[in-house]
Amino acid sequence: MKIKDDNYMKWFRLIAFVVILVSTVACLFPFLLIISASLTQNEAIIRDGYNLIPTVFSLEGYATVFRFPKQVLQAYGVTTLTTVIGTTLGLFLMTMAGYVLQRKDFKYRNFFSFMIYFTTLFGGGLVPWYILMTKYLKLTDTMTVLIFPGLMTPFLIILMKNFIRSAVPDEVIESAKIDGANDFTIYSRIVLQLSMPGIATVGLFLALHYWNDWFTSSLFINDTSKYQLQYYLYNVINAMSFVAQMGAGTGVSLGSDMPTESTKMAMSIIVTGPILFLYPFVQRYFVKGLTIGAVKG
C-alpha cells in the first residue's frame, strides 16, 4: 500500500510540475515577445516577422519614442499625478467609510451599507453618467474627471470594512473612548495603524486602476496634453498602424523613416515599465491582503 502511494505521488508531482511550468511559460511568453520586438530593428520585424529573439538588434524604437519626449513625459506626468492623488484621497475616504460602517454603535450602518451596495445592483448606465459629467458638471478636459470617478468602489469599501473589523477589536475602540478619545482620533491613531495590510491591498487596487486607466481619457479628454499614459499609448498604436497601412496601401513609403512596429513595442515597454519594476516588491502585499480578505470574506 505504502509503495503504491509513493509511486502515485511521484507521477502526480511530475504532472503537477509540468502543468505549472507550462502555464507559467504561457503567462510569461507575451512579455518576452514584446521585449524582444522592442529591441529589434523595424525592417527586420517587417521582413522576418516577430520572433522570440531579436533577429537584428536595435534600439531605434526607444530612440524614436524619445526623439520627441515632450508628449510621453506629459502623459507620464498626468498618470503619475492622478495615481498619487486618487490613491491617497480614495484611501483616506474609504478607510473612514469602512471604519464608520463597521462601528456597531453606529445605528444606520446597515442602511448606508446597503445604499453603497445597491449601486452594484442597479445603475443608470454609461450614457446618463457621461452626460452628467460633461453637460451638467462641465468636467470635460479637467484633472478632476480623471480622478473623481475612480476614487472608490463598493467592492473596495466592503473589503476595507472587513479588514478593519478583523484587525481592530471592539474592546480597543471602547477603551480608547473611555480614555476620552473622539471618533476621528480613534480612527487616525488606532484604526489606521492596525489595518496597514488591508490599506496596502486596497491602495494597490486603486493605484493599479489609475495607472491602467484609458477609459476615462477616452470619454472626457480632448486636449492631448491631458491624456493619461495608457490612452496616449492607445492613440500612438492606432496612429502608427494608420501610417503603416497608408504606406502599404498607396505604395508610397510614408513610414519609411518611421520605425512603426518597434516604436509601438518600445512604447508598450516604457508604459508598463514601472509596473514590471515595482511588481516583485508589491505582489506579496497583494497576496497577503487577498489572503486575509478571502479567509475572512
Binding site: M1, D5, Y8, A16, F17, I20, S23, T24, C27, L28, P30, L33, I34, A37, I46, D48, G49, Y50, L52, L93, M94, M96, Y99, D105, K107, Y108, F112, F114, Y117, T120, L121, F122, G123, G124, G125, V127, P128, Y130, I131, K135, P149, M152, L208, W211, N212, W214, F215, L219, Q230, L233, I237, K264, M265, Q283, F286, V287, T291, A294, V295, G297
Partner: protein, 307 residues
C-alpha cells in the same frame, strides 16, 4: 415624529462618524444615484441644447428599434454566453492550478511560478491589445511567422470572426487565472495538515486526498465567488472586448457585448436615446437576474445568499 427624533439624536451623538462617512455618501449620490435620473433619455429623442425633461418624448420607440433590429437578442446572448464561460472555466481551471501548485514541495519554485502567473493581472488592456496584435497580425505576427517557417499557409485572424470567441476566452484566462488561483491557494493553505495526515494513515492516495478533502474544502470559496460573479453576469469585461476587437465591424457578430455596443453608440454614432435604452435594458435585466438568483439561493441555502 418619533423616528425623526431618533435620527436627530443619532446625528448629534455620532456627528463625527456621520461627518467621516459624508464624503463617501456624496460620492455615490453624485456618481451613481444622480445618473439614474438620466435613464429618462431612453424614452426621448436627444437634443444637446434642451434640458432632460424638455426633450421630445418618444415612448418605447428606442427599445422597439433595438428589439426589431435583433441587436438586443444577439447582445444579450453574447454577454451572458461569454460571462458564463469566463466564470465556469475561470474558476475550475484556477482550482485545478491551485491544487497542483499546493502539492509541489520546492518553495522557491512555488513562489516564482505563482508570481509569474499573477503578473498578467497587473498589465493594462491596452498592452493586451498590443500583445494580441503582436502574435496574430497578418503580415508579421508571431503566429504567421511560425507558420511560414513550417511551410504552412498564413491565417488571417483579424478577418475570421469565429477565432475570436476562443481568443477572447484565452486572453481572459491569461489575465485573470493568476488572481483567482491566489485566492484558492489561500484557502488550501488554510486547510489543517491533520486531515491529510489522517487520510494518509487510512491509506488514501493522493487523488483520494484531493477529491475527498481539498475539493470539498474549496466548495465554500467556489460558491461565494460564483455567486458574486453571477451578480455581474450582464456586465461584460468591457476593456477586454473593446481593446481586443475595437471598431472592427467584421467581428461584431461573435464579439459584440452590451457594454461595447453602448460605448460605440455613445462615442462613434452619438446616439444618446438608443444607447441609454440599451444601457437601461442591461441594468434592469441584470437587476432582475440577481434578484431571482438571490431568491433561489435563499430557498436552497440561506448562508450563501448575497443579501
Amino acid at each position: 415624529m418619533q423616528r425623526k427624533n431618533g435620527l436627530w439624536k443619532e446625528l448629534v451623538t455620532n456627528r463625527l462618524l456621520f461627518l467621516m462617512l459624508l464624503p463617501t455618501l456624496l460620492f455615490f449620490i453624485i456618481n451613481s444615484y444622480t445618473p439614474m435620473v438620466g435613464v429618462y433619455y431612453a424614452f426621448t429623442r436627444f437634443d444637446f441644447n434642451t434640458s432632460l425633461f424638455n426633450s421630445q418624448f418618444v415612448g418605447l420607440e428606442n427599445f422597439k428599434f433595438l428589439w426589431k433590429s435583433g441587436v438586443l437578442v444577439k447582445l444579450t446572448l453574447n454577454t451572458i454566453g461569454y460571462n458564463a464561460v469566463f466564470i465556469l472555466l475561470g474558476n475550475v481551471l484556477a482550482i485545478a492550478l491551485a491544487i497542483l501548485l499546493s502539492e509541489l514541495k520546492t518553495q522557491w519554485f512555488k513562489k516564482l511560478t505563482q508570481s509569474i502567473m499573477f503578473l498578467p493581472y497587473f498589465v493594462s488592456f491596452v498592452i493586451l491589445s498590443v500583445i494580441v496584435y503582436n502574435v496574430f497580425n497578418y503580415e508579421s505576427g508571431f503566429l504567421n511567422t511560425l507558420l511560414e517557417k513550417l511551410g504552412a499557409e498564413p491565417v488571417d485572424v483579424y478577418n475570421t470572426p469565429w477565432i475570436w470567441i476562443f481568443l477572447i476566452i484565452i486572453f481572459y484566462l491569461w489575465k485573470n487565472l493568476g488572481y483567482s488561483m491566489v485566492i484558492y491557494l489561500a484557502t488550501i493553505t488554510g486547510i489543517s495538515e491533520e486531515y491529510y495526515e489522517a487520510a494518509k494513515i487510512d491509506g488514501a492516495n493522493i487523488f483520494q486526498r484531493i477529491w475527498y478533502i481539498t475539493v470539498p474544502m474549496l466548495k465554500t470559496t467556489f460558491v461565494m465567488l460564483l455567486l458574486f460573479a453571477l451578480g455581474s453576469i450582464m456586465k461584460g469585461q468591457f476593456d477586454l472586448f473593446y481593446q481586443l476587437v475595437g471598431n472592427n465591424g467584421m467581428l461584431y457578430n461573435t464579439t459584440d457585448i452590451l457594454d461595447t455596443y453602448v460605448y460605440r453608440s455613445l462615442k462613434v454614432t452619438f446616439d444618446i436615446g438608443m444607447s441609454t435604452a440599451a444601457g437601461l435594458y442591461q441594468s434592469l435585466f441584470g437587476f432582475v437576474l440577481i434578484m431571482t438568483v438571490n431568491y433561489i439561493i435563499k430557498k436552497i441555502n440561506d448562508e450563501y445568499a448575497l443579501f
